[in-house]
């Protein structure tokens, strides 16, 4: 007979439990099974009967096991007592569940434990060092009382906790005990386990722990600290929990991952994962080399899953992720730039920007006629249509889709007061938006247009009003976008400097030295034009000050030396 004994707690999938139990006994390890009292009597007796031909399988007294309740501890106590009593050779007792699956040959585990005769494997940490508690209760689970079920009577549970907090009710931890917590799946030596079970003060301890919340994670973990000569604070069972404290489940497709983990036992395995049971319970020869357990890969897999569930992918809107605007997460997937007024001032701004930054430059995406995609495309990545009606039906979806579909590639687009203004609030609140605005630049296009002056005047008044509204939105205190605003006069004073900061902002990785400036339109007579507007009672205050006699310098100075990135 083996020196390793197994305690198995079972409540469903009894056929799998039997299969695993027989796997243990085949290598000589006795198994004591505890079946939840909630399992029907007929099912239970049938189970007992089908195991009766194996003398190494015994059944302990049954208790009702509820999650977070005392029953699980009571079950472990009864089963462990029986195991120690009936199988005197047993040196280590391994606590497992019906959904546990041994991954390595049993003899390897037996040898591993034989090499560590005095070691108790039990994860046991003080409350201060534990970060994984569900419900935010750590020390309080030892000092409050918990008469209500967390799963079934959540409101009462929470109310009762609040009440105890408010009234400052505390109960004393029995003398000599330092609360410890850890995974409920342990492997203890006969010496330690029997010391716990035969402790003269066990009645006091039991009474105390019956009122502790989730005692199965703290009873043995705390008491082992009293008696063990050598604790290895880790569990030999690979068991990972999700963000709600439920164990992750292993399926057939985890086979390779489990093989490479070198862990002895894994929990919890889906009871219909036929391939896993088949692979790990039969072909012992193809098992792993002796090695220390190394669950790193599995850890990462589950950590990623947790992140997916709690944080998700920024800028993604889909059937199971729809964050509200004010939740503080990124509204879009990737940084992008918005330019307003630049195409009015520079005749070749778009090709120049493409050249200088290597990013994808679009025209006026929100133009009233249609979305002007770069390269005059009618459909963009992801099947995004240029139809203005589709876009205006849900402009936020349009922009988030565009940025999501092209994630990894910087997008730039032009904007202006003649475009759809509904999108402004969204842009202002998006921390990925870099918005550069030359206010009043729309006046240049009017100046160069061939319209009647009365129409120009009316249009100028309209555009100015729209732009003023827009600036009000962008300048609101809680705007998160990165916004730069120049008046037109400010900008034309030193255009290259401003353009350089913009390019720096974009920070493209393959920045070519910019040697050429974009071509500024001829502004001769612009000052006079503005004066004419003023004379007609329309004050274009957003352009800034231009003197009527055109004394400002419209010629962009050529670069003295090539532009270099730091």
């Amino acid at each position: 007979m083996s020196t390793l004994g197994i305690v198995m707690l079972v409540h469903t999938a009894l056929d799998r439990a039997e299969q695993v139990a027989r796997h243990w006994t085949a290598s000589g390890c006795p198994v004591v099974i505890h079946v939840d009292r909630k399992v029907k009597k007929t099912t239970y007796s049938q189970f007992v009967k089908s195991c009766s031909d194996d003398p190494l399988i015994l059944f302990s007294d049954r208790h009702v096991c509820d999650w977070g309740g005392w029953g699980i501890v009571a079950a472990s106590q009864s089963a462990a007592t029986l195991l120690l009593e009936r199988f005197s050779e047993v040196h280590h007792v391994y606590l497992s569940s019906g959904a546990c699956l041994p991954l390595r040959p049993v003899t390897e585990l037996v040898n591993y434990l034989a090499d560590r005769k005095r070691v108790d494997f039990i994860e046991s940490a003080t409350t201060r060092d534990v970060t994984w508690t569900v419900g935010g209760l750590d020390l309080e689970r030892f000092t409050f009382r918990f008469p209500f079920s967390w799963r079934k009577q959540r409101r009462l549970f929470d109310a009762h906790v609040r009440l105890q907090r408010a009234l400052g009710i505390r109960r004393a931890v029995p003398e000599g005990l330092v609360p410890h917590m850890g995974s409920q799946w342990w492997c203890l030596t006969r010496q330690t386990l029997s010391a716990i079970l035969q402790d003269p003060k066990r009645r006091i301890y039991d009474r105390y722990f019956q009122q502790v919340w989730i005692p199965d994670e703290s009873y043995f973990q705390t008491l082992a600290r009293l008696y063990s000569t050598q604790i290895e604070s880790r569990s030999l069972t690979l068991s990972k929990f999700d963000y709600q404290g439920r164990p992750h489940i292993f399926y057939d497709d985890h086979l390779q991952l489990l093989r490479r983990s070198d862990c002895f036992v894994a929990r919890k395995v889906w009871h219909r994962a036929d391939r896993l049971y088949q692979a790990f319970l039969t072909d012992q020869a193809g098992a792993m080399k002796p090695a220390e357990p190394n669950p790193g890969k599995i850890d990462r897999l589950f950590a990623k899953a947790m992140e997916r569930r709690t944080r998700g992918r920024d800028g993604l809107y889909m059937q199971s992720r729809f964050p509200s605007l004010n939740k503080g997460c990124g509204l879009t997937a990737f940084p992008y730039s918005v330019f307003q007024g630049f195409t009015d001032l520079f005749s070749d701004f778009q090709p120049w920007l493409t050249n200088a930054t290597g990013s994808r430059v679009h025209g006026h995406l929100f133009s009233p006629e249609r979305a002007r995609f770069g390269g005059n495309e009618t459909v963009l990545n992801g099947g995004l249509s240029d139809s203005a009606k589709l876009r205006d039906y849900n402009p936020e979806a349009f922009i988030t889709n565009l940025i999501w579909n092209t994630r990894g590639e910087r997008q730039c687009f032009q904007f202006g007061p003649s475009d759809l203004q509904k999108i402004n609030t969204f842009l202002a609140f998006d921390k990925n938006a870099k918005i550069s605005i030359i206010t009043g630049a729309w006046a240049i296009s009017l100046f160069r247009s061939n319209m009647n002056f009365a129409d120009i005047r009316a249009e100028a008044a309209r555009l100015q009003q729209v732009e003023t509204q827009q600036l009000r939105v962008l300048k609101s205190l809680d705007a998160k976008a990165d916004i730069r605003i120049w008046s037109l006069s400010e900008f034309v004073e030193s255009p290259m400097e401003q353009l350089q900061t913009i390019i720096d902002d974009i920070g493209a990785p393959h920045l070519r030295p910019v040697t050429e400036a974009p071509k500024m339109v001829d502004l001769t007579g612009f000052g006079k034009f503005l004066q004419n507007l003023k004379n007609q009672g329309m004050h274009p205050y957003l352009t800034g000050d231009f003197s009527a006699d055109d004394v400002f310098d419209t010629q962009v100075k050529p670069f003295r030396k090539p532009y270099l990135v730091k």
Binding site: R272, V379, Y393, N394, W404
Partner: protein, 328 residues
Amino acid sequence: MRLRRKRRLLRCMRKRRELNVKQDATNVIQPDDILLMSVIRNEKIRLPYFLDYYRKLGVDHFLFVDNDSDDGSAEFLTQQPDVSVWNTQASYRRATFGVDWVNYLLRSYAHGHWVLTVDPDEFFIYPFCDTRPIRALTDWLDDTSVRSFGTMLIDMYPRGPIEETPYQEGQNPFEVAPWFDTGNYMISRNPTYGNLWIQGGPRSRVFFYETPSKAPALNKIPLVKWDRRYTYVSSTHALLPRGLNQVYEQNGGEKTSGALLHAKLLDTLGDKAHEELSRGQHYRQSDEYRAYAERLQDGPVFWNEWSEKFINWRQLEILGLMSKGNWA
């Protein structure tokens, strides 16, 4: 809302008289069987592959309402051992587009079961569906106390004009129509029922670009651990009580979700559109089918250079059209 739900339930009880049982095999349903519910009309050509697909996923029993088919659908279905069929000649529209019949049958046979309610041209995809049967998903949902599972309908289309590659009975429709749109879906929240309202995809792009608000809804909640108090309110887009529509996360995370591949844009669409148009039995006076019939005359091509060819669920996951959530 409670009243609305009760009214729906009463209505479905009234409408049960319209259903005549054709084949009742519901006595073989086991307590934890996974069921599938579907309303069909003249879908004979689709049924063999449909049954095959869902049997492989692990559906144990099928419930069909046959709305007066005359192409042998009913005869085909009654030959299947794991299928129960009800026949009705009543108006699809007056049964709230079939929802009343569905509600009645679910109430009668699906209480306590996981049940998948899909149209015969919808194919359910969920994370790990190539390695784990649907029961792995429902067991996990049970474990995590989730009662309903959200999906988005993804319209699939062929490379050329739809009549050029005819669909053959028994064939996987996505051999003919493997292409889809990856990133042009528009979402808003429906404040009445708390569900998301998703529109977009190729049908919006080609049929409804002038009238986007009329584009069909793509949000669906087809998989539910049914209770006799539950009701669908409009197709499978929304349920009552409203908590069941909360299949999405609002604080930034992603819940686990799937997709329904929609094999509608096949060569069968033209005939269907004309038939349905003349019957006028569909939502909003069959506006949708009117648009199809008009546009189909010019032989539209849905494909464009940004169309993506379907590979597997992982591809949809990466594209953000479904999510593993915390199921690993």
